[in-house]
Symmetry: D2
Subunit: 345 residues, 4 copies
C-alpha cells in the first residue's frame, strides 16, 4: 500500500531532488508534480536524469486538484507562495512538509521583519520546525512541518546540543558558512552564471542573510533566552554542499572528550549525524548526495571551540530532510529512500 504524494514546485533543484529520492521510495507513489513555467511538459524531458522511470506531466498548481490526487504534499515553492496555499491544504486535512521559510518562525514579527507580512499567521503555532534529530516527537504528530533552511541545518545540528546544555558563553557565536551554488536555486540570474561563479569566491549578505534570524530563534528557544549570532555566508564554485565553520566561546574550559560526550548524548543513535573522531574534519565531498550531517571539532585555546559541519545542501539541507520528516510523520522507517552512501569523487 503506497501513499500518494505531490511535489509542489518540482522544477527547481530542491524539487528535482525530492522527485529523485521519492521515486526510489518503496512506500510512495508520486501522483502530482507542479510547475508554472514548464506546465504540460513531461517531467523527464525537463530533467532527463529521470528518464524513463517517471511518466508524469508537470501541471500548473491548482490546489483543489492536488488534494484530490495526493495525501501527502511537499511544497518547494519560494516563500510567500507557500503560505498562500497552505491554509487550503490544512483545511483539506492533508499533511505537508513545506521547504519554504514561511512556517519556520514561531515569532511572527521576526518573520515579518525579514520577509513580508504573513498571510496565514494562525498556522504558525502548530507548525513544527522539522529538524528530526532535535524535534522528532513533535514532527511525528505534526500536520505541517516547516523544513529548516540549509544553512540553519548545518549550524543548528552542532550548536543546539551545546547551547541546550548551557556550555556556550553568550554573545560570541560566529557562523562562517560556505555553500555550493545550487543553494541559489535554478532561476536565471546573472550572479549564478557559470562565469560569474567559477574560479571565484565571495561572501554575500554579510550579517543580513535571512537564515540568521532562523538560526537565532532556534538557538534562543534552546537557551531559553535571546541568543544572537554573527553569520556570514559565502559562495563556493561547486554544485552541492555547505560547510559551516563555527566559532564559539565556552563558558568554562572543556576537553575534547567532554565536548564529544555531549554530541554522543544527543546523536549517538542518530543515523544521519556522524560525529568525526579526533584528527578528522568534515569535507562537503564526503556527504555529496547523502542525507548525512558530518560534525568535527577542534579546540583553539582553552575556551575557544571550532566546529566544522558539512551537509549536502539539497539533501540534508532540503529534500532529504523533508523526506526524513515525511518518514517520521507517516511511521515509515526513518531512513527509507535516504540510505545512499555519498558519491565521491
Amino acid at each position: 500500500m503506497k501513499i500518494n504524494v505531490a511535489v509542489i514546485g518540482a522544477s527547481g533543484y530542491s524539487g528535482l531532488d525530492l522527485v529523485r529520492l521519492l521515486s526510489q521510495h518503496p512506500q510512495v507513489k508520486l501522483t502530482a508534480v507542479t510547475s508554472e513555467r514548464y506546465a504540460q511538459q513531461p517531467l523527464d524531458r525537463l530533467f532527463p536524469t529521470l528518464l524513463p522511470r517517471l511518466n508524469i506531466l508537470l501541471e500548473p498548481l491548482q490546489p483543489e486538484k492536488i488534494v484530490r490526487k495526493a495525501d501527502f504534499i511537499f511544497i518547494a515553492l519560494p516563500h510567500k507562495e507557500a503560505m498562500e496555499v497552505m491554509p487550503f491544504f490544512m483545511q483539506s486535512k492533508k499533511r505537508v512538509v513545506d521547504l519554504s521559510a514561511d512556517f519556520r518562525f514561531k515569532d511572527r514579527r521576526l518573520y515579518e521583519k525579514w520577509y513580508q507580512k504573513h498571510s496565514a499567521p494562525e498556522l504558525l503555532a502548530s507548525a513544527v520546525y522539522g529538524l528530526p534529530e532535535l524535534n522528532r516527537a513533535k514532527i511525528k504528530a505534526a500536520r505541517l512541518v516547516a523544513n529548516p533552511g540549509c544553512y540553519p541545518t548545518s549550524a543548528l545540528i552542532p550548536l543546539l546540543p551545546l547551547v541546550q546544555e548551557g556550555l556556550i558563553a553568550p554573545g560570541g557565536i560566529i557562523v562562517d558558512s560556505k555553500s555550493g551554488v545550487s543553494g541559489a536555486g535554478r532561476s536565471a540570474n546573472v550572479t549564478s552564471l557559470f562565469c560569474e561563479v567559477s574560479e571565484s569566491f565571495k561572501a554575500y549578505s554579510v550579517s543580513n542573510h535571512r537564515h540568521q534570524p532562523e538560526i537565532e530563534e532556534q538557538l534562543s528557544l534552546a537557551a531559553r533566552k535571546p541568543l544572537g549570532i554573527t553569520f556570514v555566508p559565502h559562495l563556493v564554485p561547486m554544485n552541492r554542499g555547505i560547510l559551516s565553520t563555527i566559532y564559539a566561546d565556552l563558558k568554562k574550559p572543556l576537553s575534547l572528550d567532554a565536548v564529544r560526550a555531549v554530541f554522543k548524548k544527543y546523536y549517538g543513535k542518530e543515523k544521519f549525524v556522524r560525529i568525526f573522531p579526533e584528527g578528522m574534519l568534515p569535507q562537503t565531498g564526503w556527504v555529496r548526495g547523502s542525507n548525512y550531517c558530518d560534525v568535527g571539532f577542534v579546540l583553539a585555546g582553552k575556551k575557544k571551540l571550532i566546529i566544522i559541519s558539512a551537509i549536502d545542501n539539497l539533501v540534508k539541507g532540503a529534500a532529504g530532510q523533508a523526506i526524513q520528516n515525511m518518514n517520521i510523520m507517516l511511521g515509515f522507517k526513518e531512513d527509507t529512500a535516504l540510505e545512499q552512501i555519498p558519491i565521491y569523487p
Copy 2:
C-alpha cells in the same frame, strides 16, 4: 544467503565505487578489501564517505587469504598486476570480474603490442568481454569476465549494433571522446593536479591510446573483418563522465527513424541503455552516479551519422558494469545495487 566478495585494489576510484555500490547490494557481503599502500588502515578512514557502515581493514594482497575469505572477486588493479594473480584465482575455482585490461583482448599479440608480454595467455580464450548488453549469455557462464574500458564502453554500445548490421562504411569511424579526471585514477601525478586540469581542456594520447585497439578488436569481431578507427581522447575539468562524439559514414543513406529502429532492436529492453528521442542529446551530468549509457544521434548530410553517447566512467565505465556482470554471473536481478537515479546537479 549472501555471497562473500573481495575487492582487490580498493583504494583507487574504481575500487571505492565498487565498495560504495556493493555495500548497498542486499546479496553481497564484503569480506576482503586490499591495498598495499594503505594496508591495515580502516577503509572508512581512507574514504570517510563510507563511515560508519563499513567496519573493515584494508589488507595487503595475499591471494591465498583472499580465496579463503571470498567466493567472488573483483580485481581493480593496474594492468600487469591483474594477470599475475589471475591464474591462482582461476585454479581456486573462484569467479572473477577483472577491471584491468589484461584479459580484454582475444588477440594476444594485440595485447602485447600495446601493453606488455602476457603472463597468462592461456586464460585469454575463455575470458569473456564483459559488455552485458552485447554479451549477456557468455557472461552468465563465464568464470573470468574482463570488464571493458571506460572509453570502449562509451564507443561500443552505440557502434556495435550499426557495425553488426553492416550499416557503416569502412574506414571512416572517428571517436572523439572527452573524459572527466577520475579516469586518470587516484595516483599522485602532476598532470592530474587540480591546477593543471581546472580551467583547461586538452587532447592526449592522440591516436595512440590503448583503448583504441580494444575498440577496434570488438568492432572487428562484430564486423567479421578488420575494422580500424580514429580515436582521440580529451580531458575535461570535471570529476566523472565520458561523452563520446562519434562520426560514422553510412554505407547508404538512412533516415533517423531507420537508425532508431536498429537501436531499438538491440536495446529496446535494456534497462541501462537510454536511446534519446529526436531533439535531445546526452550530457554527462544526466548520467552522473548511475549505470546508464545514454545515446543520441543526428544526421549531418545523407550519409554522415553523428552519435553522442554519455556514461559515468566510474559506474557504467567501471564499477557499475562490473557489478552488472556479477549480477548476471550469479543469477541476481541484473540491476541490483544499480538502480540509482543520476544525481543532478
Copy 3:
C-alpha cells in the same frame, strides 16, 4: 596623441575584455562605453576589476553622440543590432571593428539563411573578414572589419593554409570544437547557470551551429570552390578557451615535416600563431588571457591528419583579435596591448 575609441555594448564579456585590453593600450583613449541595461552606471561598479582606473559612465547607445566622441568604434552588440547602426557609422566616416556576425559573410543569402534578413547588404562587399594572419593587407585599408567568430578563428587558422595549398581531400573535414562557457555570453539563461554546466559536458547545435557556414564560406573562398565541413561544438565547464580537434583527409600522404613546412610558410613570422613542435599539443590553459592561437598536429595513418588548435575565445576569439585589427588599421604596432603572457594556472 591618442585616438578616441568607443565600445558599443560594453557590459558583456567581450565588451569587458575589450575595455580591459584597451585601457592598457598606450595610444587609445576610451571615450564612450554603452549599455542599455546598465546605462548611467559607472563601468567600474559593474566590473570592479576595472577599479579605479576607469572613471567612465555607461551610456545608452545614441549613435550621433558616439560619432562626436569617438573616431574608432568597436561594436560588441548581438547580431542584428550591429547592422542597424552600421550605416550611420560608415556615413560618419568612422572606422569600425564589428564583433557581431552581421558583416562576416560575403554571400548575403548565406547570412539570411542562417540569421535573418540583412538590413545593410550594401556594406557587405567592402567589409573585410578580420583574420589578420590571412587578410592583413585588406584589413589595413578597411573601414569596416568583421571580426571572426570564436570557433571560426580556431578552425580557420589551422585549416586555411592547408586548403589554400590544395592539400586536403574534399568532403571529409570534421571540426569537433570545445568551448568554455563565456562563449555563451553574459545573458541570464538557465543553460548557462553554474549548476547546469559544472561537472557536466555536452554537445550542442550539432551540425546546425551558425559558425559552420562562416567557416565554410572562408574555406570555400580559399579553395576557390564550395567546401563543406561537419561541425560539432561542445560546452566545457570552464570560463575561457576553445580547443578544436580537426580531422582532415589528405589528398596524398604527407610527412609531419611537410605539414610543418606549410604552417611555417604561412605563420613563420606571425607573433600570435604558435606552431607546436612534434610531441606537444595545445591546451586551452596555455593560452588563457592571451592573443595566441596554438596549433599542434598528428598523423593517424598516412592520409589522416589530426590538428589541435587552442585559443582564448574572449581574446584571440573576440576582443584581442579586434584590437589586433584596430592596430593594423591604424598603423600601430600589431601587438600593442596584446603582449600578455598567458596566465597559468
Copy 4:
C-alpha cells in the same frame, strides 16, 4: 640598462608567475632559472605558456654559478632550502627577495617552534618583512627581503592599520581564510588531485597552520604587545585567490566612516590596495592575475567589525609582491610589470 635576475626554484607555481611577470619587466633580464627536477629542460617546454619568448634552460641550483649570472635573486624554494643558500648570497653582496618562510620571523624561537632549527639565525635581524604598504622604507634599504606568506598578506593589510591605531579589542580576532589550490604548490600529492578538490570544500590545519604565528608576530609588533588570533584556512575548488573573512571586536563603537578614514589614512595613496565603497565586497575573481588587495567591510552590531579581503595568492600573495619589493629595492617605479588589470571571467 637592465639588471640580471635569477629565479631559484622556477618550476613551481610561484616560480612560474615570477617568470611570467619578470619577462614583461622592461628593466629586467632573466639570466638564470633553476630546478632540480627539470634541470636541462628548456623552461618554455615545461611551461608552454612562455613559448617562444623565453629561450632559457632550467639548471640545477649551484649558488656560485648564480652569483656570477645574476645581481638580483628571487628564491622560490621550500622553507629550509632557502636558508641553506642564503648566507652565500648575502656574502656575495647580492640582494634577495625570499618567498619562503625562512626569514619572515623576528623571533627565532617562534620559527623553530613551527618550522625547524634555523641554520642562519644571524640574518634574521636584518631581514625585512616585505609588506610594501607597511614597510616601504625598510624594504628600500634591505638586502634581504622576506616576502610575506599568502594568508598573512590577506590578513595583515586590513588588520595592521586597525591594530596600529589601537582600535581592536584584545583576544577576539578570527581570520577565516579560503584559498585556491595553487597555494598548495605544484607537488604531486593525492590531496591536491583534481578529483579530491573539485566539487568539495574543506577546512585544514585548523588552528595549527604555520601562517598563524606569522600573522601574530606582525600584529604583535604593530600592537607593541602580544596579540593572538584564531586562524582557520580552507581549500576552495579554484586555481587562484584568497578571500579572508576577518572578525574583530572594536574597543569602542566606530562608524563605517570612521573605519574608512583609518584605511584611507594608510592606503589612500597605495596603488595596490583598493578599499571598497559601502555596499560592495571583494571577490577573488575581481583580483585574478593582478597585484591588488581588495578590502571591504561591514559592521555587525556596534562593536563587531567584519572585514573581507581578497588577493590573487600567486601575485599579491607571492610573485607580484616579490616584484613589488624588487622594484622598491632597486628604485624602479613600484608598479612596473604589475599593471595588469584583473582577468574576468
